[in-house]
């Protein structure tokens, strides 16, 4: 359930006092990160002020505190509360100082509780979805995980829309790439079940090959902990996506970045001389993943989780027609689609030949 939201997207916040449980800068960081959870998926921008009345006043108190109509109940029980958008107490968030506030999994993680309370401050009620951040009971999740569930994102975007709809004042960022630009090229392309995702800079297009739908999103709207400028991506046999940038790679399952990532690509079996991956594709028919680096490629066996012997090999030898560096590649209905700048080559891995050349933006129904 949602209430009317703020009528503006630029909101101010003020940290009125700090809990002695944590270093001041850790409190500031936790509050800033908690607000960023919501600004990542909406057009909202939060600016901190140090004096006067902010839209969102943040304070620690115990039992009856100030003029607040609600009171706290000592350790445990109620941890914090907040008020819906509006003047006066509207938008304010209060935290029970009798709790043990922390940055980790002990006590109560201030970032997680603050992110929940700011959901109320923006107009969200409680959700009965146990996976939702707006579920009333406290539950610790690792900070590396993005705390919003689809339920939370749907709720907040039903009030404020998604981040791409309204131009915002973030530091100079490139405007969204033109979907049908004739010279468009991609950093990486991967399937995700029945859809195909095309990545470029901070953005990704979600395409459903079976119908004309194309959605432009921010990568950070799904995976805020992923960097922009992903260089390679592929969907493996376990319903996971691997994203590569430089010598790091992340494994994603649904909305979650699996714990322990990023890892270094040499854990996959690449020599130290390999600094980055240009493109990758898992051949669903063989269970083997091909990694393309410059004019060579490695082959990785997903079943044995190990790099095959005898690699790297020259790409041209095994993929006739693929003669230059590959930007991205994915597999659809058995065929490979290699992206080389604004050119795309449809390749039959069985017949080992290029079937045809098309434009890179051919999937966008331009």
């Amino acid at each position: 359930a949602t209430l009317p939201g703020w009528k503006k997207t630029n909101l101010t916040y003020r940290i009125v006092n700090h809990t002695p449980d944590m270093r001041k800068e850790d409190v500031d960081k936790a509050i800033q990160k908690a607000l960023k959870v919501w600004s990542t998926v909406t057009p909202l921008i939060f600016t901190r002020i140090h004096e006067g009345i902010a839209d969102i006043m943040i304070a620690f108190g115990t039992k009856a505190h100030g003029h607040c109509p609600r009171y706290f109940d000592g350790p445990l029980g109620v941890l914090a509360h907040a008020f819906p958008p509006g003047s006066g107490f509207g938008g304010d968030a209060h935290f029970d100082e009798d709790e043990d506030w922390t940055t980790g999994s002990d006590g109560f993680n201030l970032f997680l509780v603050a992110a929940h309370e700011f959901g109320h401050a923006l107009g969200l009620s409680h959700s009965n979805d146990q996976r939702a951040l707006m579920f009333p009971n406290y539950a610790y999740i690792s900070p590396s995980e993005f705390p919003l569930s689809p339920d939370d994102i749907n709720g907040i975007q039903s009030i404020y829309g998604s981040p791409t709809k309204t131009p915002d004042k973030r530091p100079a960022t490139p405007t969204s790439p033109k979907t049908c630009g004739s010279q468009i090229s991609f950093d990486a392309v991967t399937t995700l079940r029945r859809e195909v995702m095309f990545l470029k800079g901070r953005h990704l297009w979600r395409v459903y090959p079976d119908n004309s739908e194309v959605e432009l999103e921010l990568i950070s709207a799904f995976w805020p902990s992923l960097p922009s400028g992903i260089q390679a991506a592929y969907e493996n046999m376990k319903d996971q996506i691997l994203f590569f940038k430089g010598s790091n790679f992340w494994v994603i399952s649904g909305y979650k970045v699996l714990l322990g990532y990023p890892k270094n690509i040499n854990t996959l079996g690449f020599p130290k001389s390999v600094k980055k991956i240009d493109a990758a594709v898992c051949n669903k028919n063989t269970g083997k993943t091909d990694f393309f680096v410059g004019d060579k490629y490695w082959r990785y066996d997903e079943n044995s989780q190990s790099m095959e012997k005898g690699y790297p090999r020259r790409t041209l030898n095994d993929f006739p027609g693929i003669s230059q560096k590959v930007d991205a590649v994915f597999q659809h209905k058995g065929l490979f689609y290699f992206f080389l700048g604004s050119r795309q080559l449809e390749f039959d891995p069985t017949a080992k030949r290029v079937i045809r050349e098309i434009k890179s933006n051919s999937w966008f129904n331009c």
Partner: protein, 84 residues
Amino acid sequence: LPLHSEKDNKEEDTKLVEDYLNKFYAVETDPNQRGWKTNAESTAEKLQKMQRFFGLKVTGKPDTETLEMMKKPRCGVPDVGLYG
């Protein structure tokens, strides 16, 4: 140490239930009047609402599972109706 008597426990549980329902399941807006109207539902009805919200067995009684859920640390905003 003196042990809690059965009676003490029961009284504690009753107080927990009352506090919890008054705090999180008692405030509803009345569309016919501006502002708040205290919820005249019975404790059993409020308990059922709480059990339904948390996906518990809807018994209307403060069974063990329900009491355990009520003891979990949580947010102070009501679960039903318009909060604030």
